[in-house]
């Protein structure tokens, strides 16, 4: 065998020696996290269901953290839970947690936005051994109260003073076995509210014709959120509006709207209803000034 033959044999041997990297069959399809939002009195509550279909346990969940394993991410939440300022560990009446777990705010360095972190007690001790000096920190459990494989847990919720849709449609970073998964949060409620708007003209152009007066009754209902919010947005027009060009009287369950008649003007009135999950319904009503109005009827309006 020649030296060249030896070398080619060696190189073949060395090439064949390459290691295959160990890969873990852990995918985001193993975990599904679903969020439902609802208005409850003056509060907004986001409830979460975590479904673990895989073969590893879940030990830590950060909702509102987009944290891809191989890339930069961001915190996503802006609305603090109700008891913020008292403790980073959220009180049980503000944030529900599974037995043996704690829940706190997680602010990445230099970030204004944050995530909500649910963490199992023993695992918390493992990743933050000294912080157990905090009396509010979750207690370690033996055996740990991890979320086992093939289970679905619902004992997660957080209460806010106002909606923050990122709670329902952001991302979650989940410690799953030895891996960290970046999982999109799915909305459990994807249906927009049903928005009913009844508009009734309550005057005619007869008397002076300077104003068109409408009475608007609007209501919204949702398949999940018991109190979807209803907004009457500022009136817009195809022309620049002065402050006195329209008047809105808010009444109980209705609005009385005065629109100044100006030739060529078109008013747009827009009603928006949204549920706490961020689903929205919109209804737009347009009023075109009657072109048959006599000029004298709108002489008071600067042209």
């Amino acid at each position: 065998m020649t030296k060249a033959n030896y070398r080619s044999l060696i190189h073949a041997a060395l090439t064949l020696t390459a290691f295959s990297p160990i890969t873990h069959a852990q995918t985001t399809t193993d975990i599904a996290i679903t969020a439902w939002g609802m208005h409850y009195g003056s509060d907004v509550i986001y409830k979460y269901q975590v479904k673990n279909s895989g073969s590893n346990a879940i030990k830590r969940i950060l909702v509102g953290l987009h944290h891809p394993q191989n890339g930069e991410g961001n915190a996503e939440l802006t609305t603090l839970p109700r008891n913020n300022g008292k403790s980073h560990w959220l009180a049980p009446d503000i944030a529900k947690r599974p037995e043996g777990w704690g829940v706190k705010l997680f602010f990445p360095e230099e970030s204004e936005k944050f995530a909500i972190e649910w963490v199992e007690g023993t695992y918390f001790k493992e990743i933050s051994p000294a912080s157990l000096q905090d009396p509010n920190a979750p207690s370690p459990h033996n055996p740990p109260k991890v979320q086992p494989p093939k289970t679905t847990w619902d004992a997660f919720s957080v209460t806010l003073a106002k909606p923050d849709f990122a709670y329902a449609n952001g991302h979650a970073s989940i410690d799953y076995g030895t891996a960290v998964l970046n999982v999109p949060v799915q909305k459990g409620d994807t249906s927009p509210p049903t928005l009913d708007v009844i508009t009734e003209r309550v005057n005619t152009n007869g008397s002076n014709g300077k104003w068109a007066i409408y009475e608007v009754k609007a209501s919204a209902r949702d398949n999940y959120d018991p109190s979807p919010r209803l907004i009457f947005e500022p009136i817009s027009s195809n022309q620049a509006l002065d402050s006195g060009d329209y008047i809105v009287e808010a009444r109980k369950n209705s609005w009385k709207i005065w629109l100044r008649n100006v030739p060529g003007r078109v008013y747009q009135m827009r009603y928006v209803s949204y549920d706490a999950s961020g689903n929205t319904a919109v209804k737009e009503i347009e009023y075109k000034v009657d072109p048959s109005l006599k000029k004298s009827s709108y002489l008071t309006v600067p042209l």
Binding site: H11, A13, T17, L65, L80, E112, S131
Partner: protein, 320 residues
């Protein structure tokens, strides 16, 4: 020196081999690996440990000679040399491969000519005439890698072992030695930022900002305060090394990569921490929740300001 020794040993073995074509191939491959230039990046030659010899055969022979000597007789034993036995693979150290090379040293014995002594010899050894290989020593040594992992490849019916790589170019994380940084690393401030080690001006300004914000109905939250310099460096190191290792599949880097991954996931470092942070001098505090249009006026009323209101909106430091 070790390599040279391995080569010399390999040549010696090669000369002695007469029993097994497979062994010839194996040792030839080992020799070739030893003498071949290291032209493949990340590959190196396994080293050989020293022999560990089991001298039970010699001990047995000595015992026999003593026993035969009690009758005024003697016999001689002649070494037949060392010959390889089967290669054994053992798995240890969490699954890393250790290859053990074994040899045996056999002896031949000549029965004494004297009949009485021949009888004694036979009774002691149950060996008559010229017998060989009746007892033997054995010895064993292993292949190991000074860097990387020992890996094996089968060429035909034989195995070839190589070191899969050199030292990972990304060194392990620097140990945290500063006690203050250690406390942070251990999570003492995972739930509440470290306010105790802010300087007095920052503490005063922070309290003032919180009070004024509360007076305006603003819920403000301290998101970060004092961070020891070594802890800050640690966060930066974790971030930087993860960027280097996240797509790295070199076997020699996997241990370092696993350690860095654990830290990266623990801290969820989603952006690169800055080099020289004022947080490390206790001269900065991050306060979230104050709307931008109010933050600067509230800060100014508290002798504080935001150096970078657009890039780092939560970062407040005292006015000089």
């Amino acid at each position: 020196m070790i390599i040279g020794s391995a080569i010399r040993e390999g040549h010696a073995l090669f000369r002695r081999l007469t029993i097994n074509v497979g062994h010839i191939r194996l040792l030839a491959m080992l020799i070739l690996i030893a003498v071949a230039p290291s032209t493949t990046r990340g590959q190196s030659t396994p080293q050989l440990t020293d022999w560990v010899t089991n001298t039970s055969g010699s001990t047995t022979i000595q015992a026999w000679q003593q026993e035969v000597g009690r009758y005024g007789c003697s016999f001689s034993a002649t070494s037949l040399g060392w010959t390889p036995t089967t290669q054994r693979k053992m798995f240890s150290n969490g699954g890393s491969v250790v290859v053990s090379i074994s040899e045996v040293q056999r002896f031949s014995f000549e029965t004494p000519v004297d009949n009485t002594c021949a009888t004694v010899f036979y009774n002691v050894t149950t060996c008559g005439g010229t017998c060989s290989g009746y007892t033997q020593n054995s010895r064993r040594r292993s292949l190991f890698c000074t860097s990387g992992n020992l890996s094996e490849t089968r060429i035909g019916t034989e195995w070839v072992w190589t070191c899969s790589g050199n030292t990972c170019p990304v060194p392990p994380l620097t140990p945290i030695t500063d006690p203050a940084a250690r406390v942070h690393e251990d999570g003492r401030y995972a739930a509440q930022p470290d306010l105790d080690n802010l300087n007095s001006r920052t503490q005063t300004g922070m309290a003032c900002i919180l009070q004024r914000a509360a007076g305006e109905g603003i819920v403000a939250t301290i998101t970060s305060a004092y961070r020891p310099a070594q802890y800050q460096s640690h966060l930066q190191e974790v971030y930087d090394k993860w960027q280097l290792l996240k797509d790295n599949a070199q076997p020699e880097c996997q241990e370092v990569k696993d350690a860095v991954r654990r830290e990266f996931n623990k801290h969820r470092v989603i952006r690169r921490p800055v080099n020289n942070s004022q947080h490390s001098t206790g001269n900065a505090v991050d306060i979230a929740g104050i709307p931008g249009e109010r933050a600067d006026s509230i800060a100014a009323a508290c002798n504080m300001y935001r150096p970078e209101p657009s890039k780092d909106r939560v970062h407040f430091v005292p006015l000089n």
